[in-house]
């Protein structure tokens, strides 16, 4: 048993790559051991900017010996055959053994493979690991780079230490040979250090000002920064990302406290923090009252001869220069009103097929205005000319203006935030400034969800426009890539809507965006040169939009719906129930959809619900087999869908009155074509429950025979339940609809108990199948039970 030390010395490895490099080194090394049949008691990996190291404990001295045997020809076989057998197995004839196999004397070759020395295994493993190392970016260097086949590493590899026990593991790769020697700290130690074994490695390096254990350096940065702050009477703003990065940039970290001119504190705190963190990798501090302090903490890589005075002075100067740039931007940006900045958005391409950011902003403004004017939207209803509407339009028109400011050009992460500050400074109302600042929210999972009406309107309009626009030009996310962050936009839409329980029909919005963006797309396509046209996929690509465009909005709704399912699954809502409700016709009012799903979930978990489901399945199976007569494939659709641009009022629940014009038409004078009038029917019937007849009118007036008792009871129950279910659904009282449906449970059970559907009398058979179809249709008013599992 012996411990093994491997150190790969190189020029400075980027800090951000070190954690993965450690994991890769461990994984590749363990795989090499495993292939040789070796196992270490423990593997530890370390990194510094200049080295990757690995210590494997208790490696056996050699791999296990193996003995294999091969059966050969029988004794007395021709010499040719026996010699061939010997050759194949690398033995001589006198080494063969003769054994009895079912009464025949047969030759056997016994091949003893002795164990291999572990050092030999390692000598081969090290170059193999280096060659296979998956750096995110790698390079060639030096004399060897005359060939492009030369060794690649993240930065030039300069040395290998490989010691098993006390012995050198000799290996070589591309001119770099293994040895006992390495280097200490770049400035604190001169010359080479000789390492004895894995046991003294870390301590020898420590003596030469190198802390090889990254977690030790991280602890020093973490605790040292806190201490440097508290020594200055301040509190550190902790930042674990900075801890790791600074530990990855130093072999001997020394946190130092510096300061800057308090005059810079006029600049927004976020700007100071970002300048310090991103550009300089400094921590920032707060004073006792929680206010940002004019101080920072940098992490040096040396114990300077003057205690760090010169280093602090130098860093202070650099930060001051950076902050004066930021202050300059801050002041310069404010000299131009946001309205003027916004004009420059017409020079920024949003997407080549979709026009400029200014075009997008116009669409967002119209959508946002429409959202707040929508009656029954659940958050606020503005009327033309009221304050809210004015604020929404203003905020939407200005929400992207900060993209062309100097500050956001320098710090793209500050988009929104800077716009908010500039709006405030310009004297815009708080609601407008907040909406500009927060309209990108929610971004991450823990991010706060906007609730202020102006922000909600702009945030939703922006996200829905993005989704609708990219669906219009068929730039869809795939499993592995979502370059326009449409998933994030969809999750944002869902969270904003559900958080404030907004009653927003998504379909007309997405259809309106689709229409506008499709026309932008056509305009773009007609301006292409022939070559560009070909490069974009030619006639095949462009003509395919004829089929795509009509369904783009539906696909966008499906996309949002899929995100909703994922999101609700985490909240414990059954996805099959969401499917069952959505299948009725792409319910696009997420609040109503979930209310219905929740009622359904409560219902199917009761005995009534469970039994009704069983009855439903039985009825559906029979109907499927018999293909019910008179079944019209047109699905029944419940729930209302508001339609932009249509003045016709819907007859169902939901938004009863619509604004006069579509968002696409506001201010433009010409309507961007109402997508569809009246209640929407999905064009794609395959998504809807098939085989449902339209609800037959009450009673079975045409019955040519006297129904059996159970049959009559079911007819009566349906007659009674159907109007109740319909009324309850229209009133969005979904629990009540479930209760009404529950009244069908006993009759359907009894029906199956007592009545033969498949009667020899064709009239009876047909009438009973029709009755089952009616039952199924009644259930489908609530949900497509065929989608429910169990």
């Amino acid at each position: 048993m012996a411990d093994f030390l491997l150190e790969l010395l190189s020029e400075e490895i980027p800090a951000r790559m070190q954690a993965k490099a450690r994991a890769d080194l461990e994984r590749l090394f363990a795989a090499q051991l495993n292939d040789a049949g070796l196992k270490a008691a423990d593997i530890t990996v370390y990194s510094t900017p200049r080295r990757l190291a690995l210590i494997a404990k208790d490696l056996p001295d050699q791999t296990e010996a193996v003995s294999e045997e091969a059966k050969g020809p029988p004794e007395g076989a021709p010499d040719q055959a026996v010699d061939g057998f010997c050759r194949k197995n690398g033995v001589t004839r006198d080494q063969l053994e003769v054994r009895d196999v079912k009464g025949r004397a047969t030759y056997f070759a016994v091949i003893n493979k002795p164990g291999r020395a572990t050092s030999d295994v390692l000598a081969e493993a090290i170059p193999a690991i280096i060659k296979a190392f998956p750096w995110p970016k790698s390079m060639r260097w030096g004399d060897a780079s005359l060939s492009t086949e030369s060794l690649r590493w993240v930065r030039p590899l300069s040395g290998i230490v490989a010691i098993l026990g006390d012995d050198l593991v000799e290996c070589e790769i591309d001119g770099v040979t293994s040895g006992y020697e390495t280097v200490g700290h770049r400035f604190h130690h001169e010359g080479m250090i000789t390492i004895g074994n894995a046991g003294d490695y870390a301590e020898k390096l420590r003596a030469c000002h190198v802390l090889v254990d990254h977690s030790e350096r991280e602890a020093i940065v973490r605790e040292g920064a806190v201490k440097a702050a508290s020594d200055g009477g301040l509190e550190l703003v902790t930042d674990e990302g900075l801890v790791i990065e600074n530990a990855g940039l130093t072999e001997w970290p020394v946190p130092l406290l510096g300061g800057f001119d308090p005059a810079f504190l006029d600049v927004p705190e976020e700007v100071i923090q970002l300048t310090a963190r991103v550009n300089q990798k400094y921590f920032i501090c707060r004073d006792k009252s929680g206010k940002l302090a004019p101080n920072f903490i940098c992490t040096a890589n040396i114990d300077a001869t003057d205690g760090g005075k010169a280093i602090v002075a130098g860093n202070e100067k650099v930060l001051a220069a950076r902050l004066s740039d930021a202050k300059f931007f801050w002041e310069l940006d404010q000299k131009t009103p946001l309205e003027e900045h916004a004009k420059k958005l017409s020079n920024i391409v949003f997407h080549e097929k979709l026009g400029t950011v200014a075009d997008k902003v116009e669409r967002v403004a119209k959508l946002a205005e429409w959202l707040v004017s929508l009656e029954g939207n659940g958050f606020y209803q503005s009327s033309p000319g009221d304050a809210l509407r004015g604020e929404v339009i203003e905020a939407a028109r200005l929400c992207k203006a900060d993209l062309v400011t100097e500050m956001v050009g320098e710090f793209p992460d500050l988009q929104g935030l800077m716009g908010g500050y500039y709006a405030e400074k310009q004297g815009k109302s708080e609601a407008v400034a907040n909406a500009i600042r927060d309209h990108y929210k929610p971004v991450g999972q823990g991010d706060e969800v906007p609730t202020d009406p102006v922000t909600v309107a702009v945030s939703l309009a922006d996200k829905l426009d993005t989704i609708g626009a990219f669906f219009a030009i068929r730039e869809l996310p795939t499993g592995s890539s979502d370059p326009f962050a449409l998933r994030r936009a969809a999750v944002g839409v869902i969270r904003v809507i559900l958080h404030s329980k907004l009653r927003i029909p998504l379909r007309p919005i997405l259809e309106s965006v689709n229409i506008e963006c499709s026309s932008a797309f056509s305009k773009w396509s007609t301006q292409l040169s022939e070559e560009q046209y070909r490069n974009h996929g030619g006639a095949g690509y462009f003509s395919s939009f004829g089929e795509w465009s009509p369904q783009a909005a539906d696909r966008a709704i499906d996309f949002i719906f899929d995100r909703l399912k994922v999101q609700q699954r985490e909240a414990g809502v059954r996805h099959d129930l969401i499917d069952a409700v959505f299948a009725l016709g792409r319910e696009d009012d997420l609040v109503r959809l979930l209310a219905r799903v929740n009622a359904l979930q409560a219902f199917v978990e009761t005995p009534d619900g469970d039994n009704l489901l069983a009855g439903y399945k039985r009825a559906a199976n029979i109907l499927k087999k018999e293909s019910a007569p008179g079944a019209d494939p047109e699905p029944r659709v419940e729930g209302a869908t508001a339609t932009l641009g249509s003045a016709s009022s819907a007859e169902h629940g939901g938004a009863k009155t619509r604004p006069d014009s579509a968002p696409g038409a506001v201010g433009s004078g010409e309507s961007s074509a109402p997508a569809q009038a009246g209640a929407h029917l999905p064009s794609d019937t395959s998504d809807a429950p098939s085989g449902d007849g339209p609800l037959p009118s009450q009673g079975n007036k045409g019955l040519s025979y006297t129904p059996e008792k159970a049959e009559k009871a079911l007819i009566d129950a349906l007659d009674a339940a159907q109007p109740d279910v319909t009324a309850a659904i229209e009133a969005e009282e979904f629990e009540k609809a479930m209760t009404a449906l529950a009244n069908l449970r006993a009759p359907i059970d009894q029906f199956f108990e007592d009545v033969t559907v498949n009667d020899s009398d064709a009239d009876k058979r047909e009438a009973r199948l029709a009755l089952l179809a009616r039952f199924r249709a009644a259930v489908h008013q609530v949900a497509d039970f065929s989608k429910i599992e169990g």
Binding site: E11, E12, P14, A15, R16, P49, K137, S138, M139, R140, W141, G142, D143, A144, S145, L146, S147, T148, V154, R155, P156, S158, G159, G179, E181, V183, R186, F187, H188, E190, G191, M192, L249, T250, Q280, Y282, C298, A300, N301, I302, A304, T305, D306, A310, I311, A313, G314, N315, K317, V318, L319, A321, D325, F328, N347, I348, V349
Partner: protein
Amino acid sequence: MTLSGAFAKASAKLVALAKKAITLTDQKPLSFQQIILKLHDYWSDQGCAILQPYDMEMGAGTFHTATTLRALGPDPWNAAFVQPCRRPTDGRYGENPNRLQHYYQYQVILKPSPPDIQQLYLDSLTAIGIDPMLHDIRFVEDDWESPTLGAWGLGWEVWCDGMEVTQFTYFQQMGGFDCKPVAGELTYGLERLAMYIQGVDSIYDLDYNGNGVSYGDIFLDNEKQMSEWNFEVANTETLFDLFKKATAECENCLEAKLPIPAYEQAIKASHVFNLLQARGVISVQERASYMGQVRDLAKGSCEAYMVKNGWDA
């Protein structure tokens, strides 16, 4: 053990230089021109050819043929030179203490990249008075890419007490061709370095010659006038015309199989494009197309250079 030998030698040199540096810090800091002279001395001692600046307008020292074209092909090449750089959009009419439309880079190219290149570089800092035991010198990841030159490399920005003083790059590709072998490129920002060494807050306050002449005495008027010309006066029709002519002439040279003159025209087109940018007459949409044209010229010149020298890609 050649490696350890190299390190020991380098370290001994470092100590000697550090001692020298300490004595230097007691004296008046180096003037702007002394910094250049020290670097010339130092890199000359390392075997570099000390070149003079290229006599054309260019955006960075990397455009000098001694970098771009010499990075191609198998021949060893070690050179150092000062290159004036022009970036018209960076002009601030002499009002910003940190930005100029005309400034100097000190450029070193070592091909193939020597194994001790980092130490050589650190020793050059010591030579101009930066004590590595007093100041925090760090190699921070910064990869370099020039779409215009079809070039990229990996390396660092070198920090001195948090300030970027040098760009350090191992060229991997130039003009779209793999570098065989790889060259190491060091680009020192001379004004920045001098501001640091002299402890001044404005470029214009730099001590230029150690004898009463400041950087501002020499360049302030230049910055004011050139900024005005770059942003406001330059005749854009003439510039558009120049761009076209340079493009045509580059193609003419390429047809005549003259890569060096072709490359000069590419540099010219690049600078004219930068001027057009400063005049604000190139829209975002057109920008990509202009950059594409310049890139094609530069890559075409590199390709012709390879062919002329009989080198395989």
